[in-house]
């Protein structure tokens, strides 16, 4: 196993991402997007700059126009995005959709899409979830074959960047019934195909997400990713990778919320002294710091597990997501509590962190989902 330290190249990537995002895609920028009721939900101009720096292709192999840095590289950028709450399609398109296409697609499909994603030209999003809780095996949406086309019918929710996506990767059932892992298939569907209806939804974190309805949507059999009914393994691995990436974002969110809170403890005075001198607060902050150190380790360990093709990835990914959900919840809750009244105001930025954290926590399975899965995979 590779050592759990960042090499020079990775440190440089991390630092340049930190600088760029603090400058161009900070919490203030998110507030601006929110307050201007932006339909786009992120800045196209800054996304273009990110793509020029190679971020959109960071985990995509060089053969398909990417940088081939692996998921450790992507994780480092996502962590910095968490710190700055930067809005961009990196999660939907690069972390999730590109991974699923790499997992399931054939050579022609990869050639058609991955270079376009890596260049920042196309946005792709996974349309998976149908109910309020992550449970892919419960998929009911259907795809029935009709000659050399499939006809798709069903409703998806919580589709990231639904309103701006050029394509969807849609998970639908070609066989089996609700609850079965087998029988699921993945289809590539252009967003402007007849019968595809997208509605943007407004979520607590002010980021892009939407509902997508598919009514008699016809796609060619060439749009099937992988074998019919055989999407589970690739989807499952994609979800593991996605959850590790989200854990990296949560690490950034938690660390930033914590550091801002510790700064506040050193500034705010009550009873004639700074509140950070009270041991009741000191110990809570120190316990949280210890947890953040644990969180940083498991995220790094999990990113390595992806790049090393570690067969323990499912267990480690659920461990990472569960732990980061726990730590992010604590860090953002303590962040508000330790700021007192000012922490409850919209004007203060600490509230933006708790909002984004909860959405990321729930995306593709929350603490309860992943702790349960961790236990199952551990044999109890």
């Amino acid at each position: 196993m590779m050592a759990l330290v960042l090499n020079e190249e990775q440190v440089m990537l991390k630092e340049s991402a930190a600088g760029f995002l603090a400058d161009k895609a900070s919490v203030a920028a998110l507030r601006e997007l929110r307050d201007s009721s932006s339909e786009q939900g992120f800045s196209t101009e800054i996304w273009r700059e990110m793509a020029e720096m190679g971020w959109a292709g960071i985990a995509i192999p060089e053969a398909f126009g990417g940088l081939g840095y692996g998921y450790i590289g992507l994780g480092l950028v996502l962590e910095q995005m968490g710190r700055n709450l930067s809005a961009s399609p990196l999660q939907s398109t690069v972390l999730v959709a590109a991974t699923l296409i790499s997992e399931l697609g054939n050579q022609a499909q990869k050639e058609a899409l991955l270079p376009a994603i890596a260049a920042g030209d196309k946005l792709v999003s996974l349309a998976l979830q149908e109910t309020a809780h992550h449970a892919p095996e419960q998929t009911t949406m259907t795809a029935s074959q009709d000659g050399d086309t499939f006809v798709l019918n069903g409703d998806k929710i919580l589709v990231l960047d639904a309103n701006v996506a050029d394509y969807f990767v849609v998970i639908a059932r070609t066989a089996g019934s609700k609850g079965d892992e087998s029988g699921l298939s993945a289809f590539l569907v252009e967003a402007d195909t007849r019968g595809v209806n997208v509605t943007r939804r407004s979520m607590v974190d002010s980021r892009n997400v939407g509902a997508v309805n598919f009514v008699d949507v016809r796609v060619s059999t060439e749009n099937l990713l992988g074998e019919a009914g055989q999407a589970w393994d690739g989807l499952s691995r994609t979800m593991d990778i996605a959850n590790v990436g989200l854990a990296a974002e949560l690490l950034g969110i938690s660390t930033e919320a914590f550091e801002r809170t510790v700064e506040y403890l050193k500034e705010r005075k009550q009873f004639g002294k700074v509140i950070g001198s009270f041991q009741g607060l000191q110990h809570r902050a120190s316990e949280l710091f210890a947890e953040l150190e644990m969180a940083r380790s498991i995220v790094l360990r999990a990113l390595h597990a992806i790049d090393d093709s570690d067969e323990q990835l499912p267990l480690i990914a659920s461990a990472a997501k569960a732990k980061l959900c726990e730590v992010a919840q604590r860090a953002t809750n303590e962040g508000i509590q330790m700021h007192g009244g000012i922490g409850m105001t919209d004007e203060h930025e600490i509230g933006f962190f708790i909002k984004r954290a909860r959405v990321v926590q729930h995306t593709f399975g929350d603490y309860n989902h992943h702790l349960d899965r961790f236990a199952k995979l551990s044999g109890f």
């Binding site: 330290v5 210890a290 644990m294 551990s378």
Partner: protein, 393 residues
């Protein structure tokens, strides 16, 4: 074949030839580890043979320099040795406060003469050491210690009392914090001295723990003569050494938080049963165990990361406080969960049906983990001040 592969093969062969069969049996207890000393506590005669054979190669302390009797191995070779020992089920040949605490301090602060004198004896398990830090009035506030060392030219005369001195009744020598000067702040005027427990004026009285054994003592010094050549570092500068040694002690204690044999969840299913979907029958306990096991995974990843960072010259400074706090709290949780899994069977105190009360005694002993070596609260104070930079009230 690479150098490491070659080393692995040679090590494998050597271990197979030299590790006595009894030393390949799993230990029942942490306390089964051989601690050496002039009058060693021996459960099995092979313990001594195994220690001697390993010491002949310096492998009782493989990472110490060969010139002081250690194995002279770098981290990668030490890792191979440990892996090969694990492969054979070989237990550690020797463990002692000399290895985990005094040795690192000697290597950093000791004079050449002191290193030559003491380190090889630690490697060979000839001399067993104890730690004379805490006093009745100086626990968490260790620097307020009052045991006095009076200057008598070429020697000191030491008077005072230590408490909670683990294994003082078995130890041959003590590393001890004494006050050589009372005029400055409490951190100044502390000196770090080494002396033989057989020196006239030293007496010990064992104290019984809630777990039933008596591993620690009150230690009294009544006009004990200590030659100045046994002063480590400079007079009055002992606090720096004391703190350095504590970081090693904390890492050692934190290690209890690491993996322990069969994972608890598996053991719980084997003991209590599972439902048709394979889940532990009691869903509340299942959740508690899952949370615990999750934290062991993240703790393991943290030990690995900090280790790798240290190797790469990065590193976190007061990492030992984070480890100590987290690892000991984790070990206490494990022990509580053992009680939950084994129920009444975990509360037996004596008798074969209760395995001599192993679970209950281990559980009680684990309560001391978050006290010894500096309490959890003290570790949190250190993180607050040294890492987060929060001010004193």
């Amino acid at each position: 074949m690479s150098d490491l592969d070659q080393f692995r093969q040679q090590t494998r062969t050597w271990l197979e030839e030299n590790c006595p069969p009894a030393m390949r049996e799993p230990m029942k207890n942490f306390e089964d580890i051989y601690n050496g000393g002039r009058n060693p506590v021996i459960d099995h005669p092979d313990q001594k043979i195994w220690c001697e054979r390993m010491a002949s190669r310096g492998w009782t302390v493989p990472h110490w320099p060969a010139e002081y009797g250690g194995g002279g191995l770098d981290k990668d070779h030490v890792k191979v040795l440990r892996e090969e020992m694990r492969r054979l089920g070989a237990r550690p040949a020797l463990d002692s406060f000399g290895i985990s605490m005094l040795g690192p301090a000697l290597l950093k602060f000791g004079s050449e003469k002191q290193k030559q004198e003491h380190l090889p004896k630690i490697v060979r398990g000839e001399i067993r050491w104890c730690q004379g830090y805490s006093e009745p009035g100086a626990g968490s506030d260790l620097a307020s210690l009052q045991t006095k060392a009076e200057d008598h030219g070429d020697h000191y005369i030491v008077n005072g009392q230590k408490i909670w001195t683990s294994y003082a009744n078995y130890a041959d020598w003590i590393f001890c914090l004494v006050r050589t000067d009372n005029s400055g702040t409490k951190h100044e005027g502390i000196s770090f001295v080494l002396f033989d427990m057989a020196t006239p004026g030293v007496s010990v009285r064992p104290i019984k723990l809630i777990s039933g054994s008596s591993p620690f003592c009150e230690t009294f010094f009544d006009d004990v003569k200590v030659l100045k050549e046994n002063l480590m570092g400079e007079e009055g500068k002992g606090w720096t050494i004391a703190k350095y040694l504590l970081t090693h002690e904390r890492e050692m204690i934190a290690g209890f938080g690491g993996a322990h044999g069969q994972p608890l969840g598996e053991r719980a299913v084997a003991t209590m049963g599972a439902d048709t979907s394979g889940r532990l029958v009691n869903s509340v306990l299942r959740q508690n165990i899952a949370q615990y096991q999750l934290d062991t995974v993240v703790f393991g990843a943290t030990m690995a990361r900090i280790g790798d960072e240290a190797k790469a010259g990065q590193g976190l400074g007061p990492a030992s406080s984070i480890f100590k706090y987290y690892g000991t709290e984790l070990n206490k949780r494990r022990n509580e969960l053992n009680l939950a899994v084994d129920g009444e069977g975990a509360l037996g105190w004596d008798g074969e049906e209760y395995d001599g009360g192993k679970l209950s005694r281990d559980w009680l002993r684990s309560k001391g983990n978050s006290i010894e070596g500096g309490t959890s609260e003290v570790q949190l104070n250190i993180i607050s001040k040294r890492v987060l930079g929060l001010p004193d009230e």
